[in-house]
Amino acid sequence: MKNVTFRQVRHLWPIYFLILPALSLIALFSYYPAVSATYHAYFQWNGDEISEYIKWDNFTRALGDPVLGASFGLVMIFIATNFVKMVPSIVTAVVIHRLASERWRYLYRVAFVIPMIIPGMVWLLLWKYFYNPNFGVLNNALDATGLMAGLQWLDVQMPMLARLITPARDAVLQPLFGGIWGFGFFGLVVLGSLGGLRGLMKGWLWGIGLLAGAWGLWGPPLPDWATYHFVEGLRRWITNPAVLARLAHMAALLAVAFGFGQVLHKRRPWGSSVIKWTAALILATFAVLVVTSAVWTEPTKAFTSASPPSWLGHSKLIIPALLFWGFPWVGVLGVLLYLSGLGNIDQSVYEAADIDGCGWLRKFTHIELPLIMTQIRLTLVLMIIGTLQDWGLVFILLGDSGGPGGVGMMPGLYMFHEAFTVGEVGYACAIGLLLFVLIMYLTIINNRYVRVSK
């Protein structure tokens, strides 16, 4: 990059002057609040003049806050689901792109733009009505098709299945992986070992995330600094046999996963395939175990009572209802973005693929998907940021406590609740900073490691 000399600045000053108004507005409305929030995160602040410096207290409180912890858990579920929800948009875009008639392609594109002008509030009311227990479309459709009886049957059978599987599952997974979630995470670690130890060193940011996750699932609880002096707390912690045992267990699991990767990743051509298939097998087993033994463990009793299921009022139905929200999940913006990417693929590429005898699936996996990876990466970043920040929908539907049992509490909603209902704006700032760090971390990870093939 070429440095700009003072002489050039003197010559180009009108250009710098022209961007000044925009810069000052951004500084005033975007950077100043962010700097102010960073500053006030260290205060017990009511948003006005009551402000008392309390050092790290807001952060230590946030890190030990079970409501905030659960809200991050929920947001992770939403991110995982929203990731899956990206698939219908990609498929729709590819189907439209492959239409032979240019006119139909155009018509479909227009059809996807039209819903963008419908206000979000109208969608919200439509979906709220869709879930209405007495008059809503969903319950009436379930009744009419007999699917309600199917749900009633599942409400009895799924918990029974869970009761059957859980003892065996825990007997195997508990001592080895600390439980089912530890097992799933182990699958991710195996996948992360694809580049061996050198790959881990190169992708140190990803490694930090893995280590943090491993500590959360397998590691010992942190020392009790609040009760003891720092050194004393550390001494008690490190000399505790239970802590040492858990540290050893965590180290062993990480060593096994990365040892596996280190040994196999250089064995071409089958080494990386073995790692991938092993990870896929673990993750698939994990998914099956989650569905059969960790989700529907207790009867919801929502489908068996005389009154109809209340999708947005029953603590066990709220999350499924929110996950199903927006079905069939064909995002307008996503489809248009993918279509723009697909439009850049030259016809000759398809012709070459035809000559090579590629079928429709191969064209999708080997041509279209890699060539719209830029758009996918963009929507992925937007989706992650949007999901982490989003709370408006939950607030409107469930109130600022997150509904029955607080099951719908999101980090953003909790931040809002603390700031504007309780008046603890300093604490809300600390939560905001934690969210900012997480979003930044996930964005960097995404930009670094989601590869774009050209």
Binding site: L18, T304, S307, L397, G402, G406, G423
Partner: protein
């Protein structure tokens, strides 16, 4: 050569031209900025400036959340009437939906953009920080009552039915609000449906009868295949809240005898905190607390499914559409409900029934809620940032003059707050009932305990009872492996095993009704034990944090006191100034005392907990 010179000349000309083009954009921007600056300056300081506009036309803005019925229209009409009386004044109404009201107002107050008058709903620290004490003003007569033979010349305060107690702040010991109406809450019933489904024409005499009616309606609905379309009570988060306000207060009123240490007729935050932390009061086992939450659970069985996910308008709509036989709401819905159902069905209104001593909970719920001391509501406070405080107060004088208040409340179909104002005839069953108990006890503090309570309570109250098939499953499991049975049903299994009294499962009769009773008890115990543990974890920190905010009213009161002192020095000790002065001195002393008391409570609890920890550690070492 001449060609070369010509070319050079041409290049120079083009360069000059392009330089001019480069600066064109800048010139436009500078012109736009300059014009904006001049325009803003003219608006701010010129003859048409805001200041000048304020001088020529005063604007009074007021915000509230009462969007029901004809409230907004009626207030608009009153505003126009006031504008006619005062041609230089414009009154602007800002109605805000209730759900977003608190957050909206907080933001406006902090941002110093709040309207002159705001409907109030907060505690001491917000009020003292952002609102003007009205104690001086309430002693002056309301000029709009000048031609009223009964109220002319009387202090404003005394023209109120409740002596303006609705505007009095106990904590700050000052008047801060100006109320407009009086409210009571009642059960509304669809007379036609009650006759058809439950064969009743009169209101229930006690809680047992009320539950009986609900059961009959439920049975009728099932018989006629209308279990989804006909409900005993239109439930929502809002109606549940109303039932909770009544029955919780009725059931826990008796706690006053044991826990009101300072005998002020109220179990304060610090009294409750100390009682719970030192083990004097155990939330998990207290029978009054249990009665309060259990009765609410029993009543909520007759609400529609998922009522906690429903909003107020949905339950009112359900009642108005004859989808529910009863609803609990306040006088604020009377006008609009009567209008909506006119010609469809008659409405019967009754007070919340209490159990007879022999009925369940009869031992704890012995009195209805008194409304004798109910303070007037729909209370507006004057904000400190109001540009023309005198004009804003004058507008409130206008709204609270007997004639206007009567007219306004006639349109609202609410009770007027001013003495002598006539009441709409449909409000007869809502007349305040004088005898009874009142709310003395809350189980949360603003902050984390409140959030945990809201989350756990909503889950507790909205859960669904088990079905007969669950009962069969339970009995089957009881005959299987005892350890698996206990681990699956935990407290419920213990209750059943206790009922067995040593006999083998299946040897005693355990019908569905008994199972449901045990299940409900167990469900309550799980909720209250979890919450009681959370309370102990969170409440002290919440209370401690609130004490930091609580410091502000003291600082603020010193300001008012100084103002009173200056006023007394300037104007002499008139009876009004003396009263204000005394009130402020007492207020400040009270606040300092309360704060000192609160600090001492926290210190005592901490010392107690430390002592307990040391004892526990000693025992542990001994082992």
């Amino acid at each position: 050569m001449s060609d070369m010179q010509g070319l050079a000349e041409l290049e120079k000309r083009q360069e000059r031209k392009s330089r001019f083009r480069n600066y064109l954009g800048l010139a436009i921007l500078v012109a736009a900025l300059g014009w904006s600056a001049v325009h803003v300056a003219i608006l701010s300081f010129g003859p048409q400036s805001d200041t000048a506009l304020v001088a020529s036309k005063t604007v009074v803005r007021f915000a509230h959340w009462q969007l029901e019925g004809r409230c907004v229209d009626a207030l608009n009409e009153a505003c126009r009437e006031y504008e006619k009386l005062h041609p230089g004044v414009s009154v602007e109404q800002i109605p805000i939906p209730e759900r977003a009201y608190e957050q909206w107002v907080r933001t406006q107050l902090i941002g110093r953009t709040a309207p002159d008058l705001i409907e109030m709903r907060w505690g001491g620290d917000i009020i003292s920080r952002y609102f003007v004490p009205m104690t001086d003003r309430v002693e002056q007569p309301n000029p709009y009552n000048a031609d009223d033979p009964d109220l002319a010349g009387q202090p404003w305060r005394e023209t109120y039915i409740d002596n303006m107690m609705g505007g009095w702040n106990d904590q700050l010991r000052d008047y801060y609000g100006m109320p407009l109406s009086v409210f009571t809450v009642r059960c509304y019933a669809n007379r036609t449906l009650m006759k058809e489904a439950a064969n009743v024409t009169q209101p229930p005499k006690n809680l047992g009868e009320f539950i009986g009616i609900c059961q009959r309606i439920q049975a009728f609905a099932q018989e006629h295949g209308k279990s989804r379309k006909l409900l005993p009570i239109a439930g929502s988060e809002y109606t549940e809240n109303i039932f909770r306000g009544r029955y919780w207060a009725m059931a826990t009123w008796n706690l006053l005898e044991d826990y009101d240490e300072n005998c002020d007729g109220w179990i304060g935050d610090n009294e409750r905190l100390e009682a719970i932390y030192t083990g004097k009061l155990d939330l998990a086992t207290n029978p009054c607390v249990r009665a309060g939450y259990r009765v609410l659970y029993d009543i909520s069985r007759y609400f529609n499914s998922g009522f906690m996910g429903m909003k107020r308008d949905e339950s009112v709509f359900s009642f108005a559409q004859s989808n529910a036989a009863m609803i609990a709401t306040g006088t604020w819905d009377a006008g609009s409900l009567w209008r909506q159902v006119a010609g469809d069905f008659d409405i019967m209104v009754f007070d919340f029934p209490i159990p007879t001593p022999e009925q369940p909970y009869g031992q704890y719920i012995r009195h209805r809620i008194t409304e004798a001391g109910d303070r007037a509501g729909f209370t507006f406070g004057l904000t400190r940032i109001s540009r023309d405080k005198e004009r804003a107060v004058d507008f409130m004088h206008f709204l609270t003059s007997r004639k206007v208040n009567e007219k306004l409340n006639e349109k609202f179909r609410w009770f007027p707050a001013i003495r002598g104002a006539k009441t709409d005839s449909i409000l007869a069953p809502f007349r305040p009932q004088e005898e009874g108990a009142y709310g003395v006890f809350d189980v949360w503090l603003p902050g984390d305990t409140q959030l945990h309570f809201n989350q756990q309570y909503t889950q507790y109250i909205s859960d669904v009872d088990p079905e007969p098939s669950d009962h069969e499953e339970f009995l089957r499991a009881a005959q299987g492996n005892p350890d698996a049975f206990r681990s699956r049903y935990r407290g419920l299994a213990d209750k059943y095993l206790a009922r067995l009294g040593g006999k083998a499962p299946g040897q005693i009769e355990y019908p569905y009704a008994k199972y449901i009773d045990d299940w409900r008890d167990n469900h309550y115990e799980e909720f209250i034990r979890t919450y009681a543990a959370d309370y102990k974890k969170l409440a002290l920190a919440d209370y401690d944090r609130a004490l930091v905010s609580g410091y502000y009213p003291i600082v603020e009161s010193e300001g008012s006191l100084a103002h009173s002192r200056v006023q007394a020095m300037r104007e002499g000790m008139s009876p009004t100034i003396r009263r204000n002065y005394v009130s402020q001195v007492m207020g400040e002393a009270g606040r300092i005392g309360e704060r000192a008391d609160a600090r001492a409570t926290v210190d005592r609890i901490r010392a107690y907990l430390k002592d307990q920890k040391a004892k526990a550690a000693g025992k542990g070492d001994g082992k």
